[in-house]
């Protein structure tokens, strides 16, 4: 089963520049683990040393923030789009 995962610009350095990837799994956690297998270093880009997803990185299944669903255990199915959205600072003063 393949789910599209949208990769933010800063993480694209570990995905060979790919902006969107297919990943396998039935939960968000499994998708992220699959991407870490495909692209070593992927997890380090979005998780802290204790393995938690950074607080400034939000993950959405379709248009819903997983914090308001089942967090990383939120189920995913074929055709879902998962987005990883870190906070943006700018503005461009």
């Amino acid at each position: 089963m393949a789910v599209e995962v949208r990769i933010p610009p800063l993480v694209q350095r570990v995905t060979g520049g790919a902006r969107s990837l297919n990943a396998s799994g039935v939960t968000v956690n499994e998708l992220l683990a699959d991407l870490d297998r495909q692209f070593p270093g992927f997890s380090k880009e979005i998780r802290d040393d204790s393995g938690q997803v950074h607080r400034f990185v939000n993950i959405y299944v379709n248009d819903e923030d997983v914090r308001f669903l089942n967090k990383l255990d939120t189920p995913v199915k074929d055709g879902d789009v998962v987005s990883i959205l870190p906070a943006m600072a700018g503005g461009a003063a």
């Binding site: 610009p9 902006r19 248009d63 906070a87 600072a89 700018g90 503005g91 461009a92």
Partner: protein, 282 residues
């Protein structure tokens, strides 16, 4: 509130608004009565300021303590080469005055801080955020929440932009991002670059949402975060929900007044930072 009347000059200038049923004379008078504060006269503030002024927003506040640098002109269309080295607020006032002398422009040539934010914000109806750093982003959010002002937010990075509107009682930036990234984790546009045209799009989205709020028409982008990808020319959106546990706007807020936002974001205080000249990339 009593709306100001339209002068013959207004009626000529805003003709294309006046003939739209959703705007009309009442709408134009709402625009004339409106007071909008722009945080930052930079990439996002430039297009927002120009379009809001052109549309006839009666009072526009500009907060910016910077001067016009040549590297700004790739995207900051409020400023011009003849203003290099001069204050962005003065440059903005001159440009807006030339575009629409009927607009009252109020300049604040000072950094936005926990000391002045409330005093400045309380004079405006709507806050438009075009700042370039996390401490100001959290400060603008918290001050808007405390004063119950709508915050029209925008941010950009390289080819991607985000925009939303936070309305009082309906969620805030901290519901989306409760904690700032550690310093250095998320580069700014100054560090990572930005496509010069991109802030034009996002700043105009902010201006449109601001005008809709003033006119009380349409469907606000409140509750939705617009995600714009210039490379793929795609717009998507995700939901923004009010977090009942939000420290500022939740059920049991623990932050009830402005704090030290530089400390909160782990960045050096502005006062203590040495104003070293930034090396120019070749």
């Amino acid at each position: 509130m009593t709306l100001p009347p339209l002068t013959p000059e207004d009626i000529q200038r805003y003709h294309r608004h006046l003939i739209i049923p959703e705007v009309g004379s009442t709408g134009q008078r709402k625009l004339k009565a409106a007071k909008v504060l722009l945080i930052g006269a930079g990439g996002l503030g430039s297009p927002a300021a120009l379009y809001l002024a052109a549309a006839g927003v009666g009072t526009i506040g500009l907060v910016d303590f910077d001067v016009v640098d040549v590297s700004n002109l790739q995207r900051q269309i409020l400023h011009s080469t003849s203003w290099l080295g001069k204050s962005k607020v003065e440059s903005g006032k001159a440009r807006i005055g030339d575009l629409n002398p009927l607009v009252n422009v109020v300049g604040y040539e000072e950094p936005l801080t926990s000391e002045n934010a409330i005093r400045i914000f309380e004079q405006y109806d709507i806050i438009v955020n075009g700042c370039d750093n996390f401490p100001t982003r959290y400060l603008a959010n918290d001050a808007s929440v405390f004063l119950e002002k709508p915050l029209v937010d925008g941010s950009i990075f390289r080819f991607e932009g985000q925009a939303t509107v936070y309305l009082p009682g309906k969620g805030c930036y901290r519901c989306l991002y409760p904690d700032p990234p550690p310093p250095g984790a998320v580069p700014s546009c100054a560090e990572a670059g930005v496509l010069g045209v991109l802030p034009g799009f996002v700043g105009v989205v902010q201006a449109i949402e601001t005008v809709k709020l003033i006119l009380e028409i349409g469907e606000s982008i409140n509750g939705r975060l617009l995600l714009f990808d210039a490379l793929e020319m795609r717009i998507r959106e995700v939901r923004v929900r009010r977090d009942p546990e939000c420290k500022v706007c939740g059920e049991h807020p623990t932050v009830t007044q402005l704090i030290d936002y530089e400390e909160f974001c782990g960045v050096p205080h502005r006062e203590s930072s040495v104003e070293a000249p930034v090396p120019v990339a070749v």
